[in-house]
Point group: C2
Chain length 339, copies 2
């Protein structure tokens, strides 16, 4: 391993977005005198009569949830994107705006209010994967939808307003910023090398074995070289697949296993239900040739040193570049030990 990367300030390049992260390894030693997060290790009931995501309960708009048994998907009652919203455009000197249409859905991972993905069996998580595939497929067929963003905000510190295990699916007409960057960088590489950027990247990572947390037959779980969040991780399919519909044979179960291993390790790290935002980046559904896309799932967890001390992405990070203290390699070793 290059020890300079563990000893001196440097920046690392994100091959997917073209942006840099500033790494200051020596700074991991500074004392923390700032805000501590509230740690909630409350045990939740399996069914909470006041939870608007639990089976059989009534939602804010008056609809009653079915008595679902595994996964339940519905359209967000306060959707940020709608299909019946007006089509318009503003091009007025230096003011530029474009209407955006879309569909926002909520996906409940389990009827069990007390669980998180980390508490679920791979076979149960696989049902969530199947539901994501159904949604992606249906949305892909909708002419209005050119991109589908599947994500989860877990934990109050990540803005999650309900602890019931759930994620969201926001789909829309145009490509969001982050997707656009990854689209361009993957396309440029694919055109030049006739192979998948992420595919080649994980081959290199597997041969180095410095940032690999876990692997099975079909997936690699690693801390990317350019990770921004202290314990950021990425799940990448070994086979080049542009979207989750291309999972075949037992790959959906192996994907579920990778999610299970990572989320369990996360919970063990600080002995708390680990907060994060996770998301799947995959091929747009814009009808174009998207074979340059190699889909992947990323986890951005904010905790830094304990269940109550998080990394703040503030001043320098907002105006300059993201910055981290603990290196990707050290983070990976800490996570790997906990499997």
């Amino acid at each position: 391993m290059n020890t300079d990367l563990q000893d001196y300030s440097h920046k690392r390049y994100n091959i997917l977005t073209g942006e840099w992260v500033l790494v200051s390894p020596h700074r991991a030693k500074r004392p923390w005198q700032g805000q501590n997060e509230a740690v909630s290790n409350e045990v939740r009931p399996k069914h909470d009569p006041s939870c608007y995501l639990c089976a059989g309960n009534t939602r804010i708009n008056g609809e009653i949830n079915p008595n679902y048994e595994d996964v339940f998907v519905f359209t967000n009652d306060f959707a940020a994107l709608q299909t019946d919203s007006k089509n318009f455009q503003v091009e007025d000197g230096l003011l530029l705006a474009q209407s955006e249409q879309g569909i926002c859905k909520v996906i409940c991972f389990s009827p069990d209010h007390s669980k998180s993905l980390a508490d679920m069996q791979p076979s149960e998580i696989e049902k969530v994967v199947f539901a994501c595939q159904r949604e992606y497929k249906e949305l892909a067929e909708n002419e209005l939808i050119n991109y589908v963003q599947i994500f989860e905000n877990k934990g109050a510190v990540m803005g999650c307003s309900n602890p019931h295990p759930h994620g969201q699916i926001w789909s829309q007409t145009s490509l969001p910023n982050e997707v656009d960057k990854k689209d361009k960088h993957q396309l440029a590489y694919y055109n030049k090398n006739k192979s998948s950027l992420l595919g080649d990247y994980i081959k290199q990572e597997l041969s180095k074995n410095e940032r690999i947390i876990f692997e099975n037959e079909a997936f690699v779980v690693l801390v990317p070289f350019w990770a921004v969040w202290p314990f950021e991780a990425m799940i990448v399919p070994k086979r080049h697949q542009s979207n989750i519909l291309e999972l075949k044979d037992n790959e959906s179960l192996l994907f579920a296993e990778a999610i299970s291993v990572l989320t369990k390790v996360y919970d063990r790290l600080f002995n708390t239900s680990f907060p994060y935002s996770s998301g799947i980046h995959q091929a747009p559904t814009n009808g174009k040739d998207n074979s340059h896309w190699h889909w992947h799932m990323s986890f951005y967890p904010p905790l830094l040193r304990s269940a109550s001390v998080k990394k703040f992405m503030v001043g320098y990070e907002m105006f300059g570049s993201p910055q981290r203290d603990i290196t990707a390699e050290i983070a990976c070793n800490k996570l790997k030990e906990l499997i």
Copy 2:
């Protein structure tokens, strides 16, 4: 005013970065059931014996602060960037890293531990501006330094670990991501139009008067059309200046007045010491022709509805694009009313 922008989901283009923000005006009505921030309205003493930024106190590294009377600048005891750090480079297949050198300083705005910029007189704030000019000038002369980022993290919710009024100055060899984007977009416009992008933008904003919070002879305080944070604002000099050294005559006092007006309004909005990260983006100190730069100061405050409810930039925002509910125009009106 275009009412579509107040009624339907749309995206707005940031002319400085080339990125988009998703705006969902109808969503401002949804109820909040998530995390509330702790509100601390504690009255602080003018001098806190345990504060490492107060005059005469001893810092963690054993150094004693002078009995400073207005502004005090020192090198960060836990600097993320250092000048004596090793120069190296990694170019290994798809792994790309580059050592980064720099200087991180802390700037105390006042010896008075109980104050914030909002409590200071414009004449006191002007001394902070003068100190920033001195630092920018000195750092610009350093061959190692090609960019100087001045910023403030205010409030525990913005990762500020000490309530003593202070900011930071991180300077470094390469251009951070955000600066690089603004550099490219300003340059392209300047080359094409032979005028300043931001200069032309504020002319348009002044003539429309829909997003202007305040103006004086030399400065405009506005909510930019593409604002991301609920009450984001920007202070822009009316005269085309590429960095803060170009302030002349009474402009430094007028800049201080603009800061004073904005921070006071912020405090009134939710009747709390308003948290934010602020930063000055200005010309790099790389010895190149930077006349395309028009410096400006931005404020990114997280609070959304009250002193305890903030906007979370999480799942969709991290994987897609920033998203906001309340529009820039409504935010501007709320702030303007409080002057």
